[in-house]
């Protein structure tokens, strides 16, 4: 084994970089939001729903030209967009339902043999956690959009 030497300054900047990055990460965890990535908080599943709270499952449904109403799965392989991305944009989609075009186009591109989509709905299924078990409650429609051609 041979050892590659290193200058004092080489060690100094390395230690300084490590300390600065750790400080930025702790700051991100204590004070920032996800927008600060890669120096944001590790916030995945880091909140605390009460045992009797309600859980929303967001879905997008679509009407095909043959009349069927189907679930358009929200993932990169089925619609080109993840459910969490859609959930983060709910207020924007409620204000401008035509944003559902992203799901319509993504789904149509990945399902070329299916009839075209004529209408899309942004829905939420609500479930009540009762003593930490699962009870479906209701489905609400947050936005609907007729596909324009």
């Amino acid at each position: 084994m041979t050892t590659r030497p290193i200058r004092r300054s080489g060690v100094a900047w390395r230690v300084a970089v490590s300390v600065v990055v750790v400080v930025l990460l702790v700051n991100g965890t204590l004070r920032m939001t996800d927008a600060a990535w890669p120096f944001g908080p590790m916030s995945q599943y880091a909140f605390a729903p009460a045992p009797d709270s309600e859980v929303a499952i967001t879905r997008v449904e679509g009407r095909l030209a043959d009349g069927r109403r189907i679930d358009l799965e929200l993932n990169p392989w089925s619609s080109g967009i993840r459910r969490a991305d859609v959930e983060a944009q709910i207020p924007q989609i409620e204000a401008r339902p035509e944003l559902l075009r992203a799901v319509q186009q993504g789904w149509a591109r990945r399902h070329p043999t299916e009839p075209p989509l004529t209408e899309l709905w942004l829905c939420q299924e609500w479930h009540r956690l009762s003593d930490r078990t699962w009870q479906p409650v209701r489905t609400v429609t947050l936005a609907s959009w007729k596909v324009d051609r």
Binding site: M1, T2, T3, R4, I6, G10, V11, R14, V15, S18, V21, V22, L25, V26, G28, T29, L30, D34, A35, A36, W37, P38, G40, P41, M42, S43, Q44, Y45, A46, F47, A48, P49, A50, P51, S53, V55, I57, P76, G80, I81, R82, A84, D85, V86, E87, A88, Q89, Q92, R96, L99, R101, A102, Q105, G106, H127, L129, D131, R132, T133, W134
Partner: protein, 305 residues
């Protein structure tokens, strides 16, 4: 060097860097095909773009399919060079910049993945070591290599301990709020998988798992001081934890899992492989020697720093 400096920058084998460079480059290719796959499709929808702060600071242009596919091509070329350990600085930093930009696009439409911290640290810091003479078979040790490995290890541990800290922050600075909540039930209802559905009728068990998880996350910095069997036990525990959350919720954390390799004595791979080949050759000739190649000892054979 002082004790603090030696801790941040221990002397470790460059062969471990060379192997890790190859593995991380392979993993980045898997990542853009299986994990953060959506920049080309998301960039078709400028209406949904919500740039991260870093995109604003760096004045990154709004994503477009042309940009996403250009980044994809750059990632492929630089990752192939990385797998072969060629042009480690140029190809390494090109891969780091292109991959980070790719992730920045993927995370600028609402959802940020929290499992990429250690991987991003790895792609940016591995190039600082420069060429490792002999690549996988390198017999050089250096402080430059030790610092990179230590930083990746710190990033892996930070993923856990900062998650615990964020849970405490979100729980109004009470340690009990998160483990006493219904978070696992909430997560299983939203991501139903077979194991989760079995466990759903047992809320006390789920609450016990929440306590185990936050205590393990809080204690995770200890990993940085473990060696040998204790370190191996910690690695087995955490890899088991990730396997379990995958079975429970379909959440894999593979970008963090692959960075656990920074703790492993990867420098033993090349001598082990060479020894195996020589023994086989000797057996075929009928002149078997029990152990024709010495496995390096000391710094090279240590597990962890």
């Amino acid at each position: 060097m002082g004790a603090v400096t030696r801790w941040f920058a221990p002397e470790l084998p460059e062969a471990r860097i060379a192997v890790l460079r190859s593995v991380i480059a392979i993993f980045v290719l898997l990542d853009v095909h299986l994990m953060v796959t959506d920049p080309p499709s998301l960039s078709l929808h400028p209406d949904l773009y919500r740039p991260l702060t870093v995109a604003g600071w760096l004045h990154l242009p709004a994503p477009s399919p042309a940009l996403a596919w250009a980044l994809y091509a750059v990632i492929w070329v630089s990752a192939l060079l990385g797998i072969a350990n060629r042009l480690p600085r140029l190809a390494g930093w090109t891969l780091a910049a292109a991959f980070t930009w790719w992730l920045t696009i993927g995370f600028s439409y609402g959802k940020v993945d929290h499992d990429h911290l250690a991987l991003v640290v790895a792609v940016w810091l591995l190039p600082t070591v420069g060429p490792a003479a002999g690549r996988w078979r390198s017999s050089t040790t250096s402080v430059a290599a030790g610092w990179v490995l230590r930083c990746i290890q710190i990033a892996v541990v930070s993923t856990y301990v900062l998650s615990a800290l964020n849970k405490i922050r979100n729980g109004d600075w009470s340690y009990r709020t998160w483990p006493e909540s219904a978070i696992l039930t909430w997560a299983i209802v939203r991501r139903p998988h077979q194991l989760g559905l079995w466990l759903l009728p047992h809320p006390e068990l789920l609450r016990g798992m929440q306590w185990l998880s936050i205590i393990a996350e809080t204690c995770s910095p200890v990993i940085l001081w473990l060696r040998g069997r204790a370190l191996l036990a910690a690695a087995v525990f955490w890899l088991g934890f990730h396997a379990f959350t995958f079975a429970l919720l379909g959440i894999h954390f593979l970008p963090t899992v692959v960075c656990w390799l920074a703790f492993a004595p990867l420098e033993r791979l090349a001598p082990w492989w060479r020894g195996r080949r020589l023994r086989r050759r000797a057996l075929r000739r009928g002149t078997a020697e029990p152990n024709p190649v010495e496995v390096p000892v000391g710094g090279a054979a240590r597990m962890g720093p």
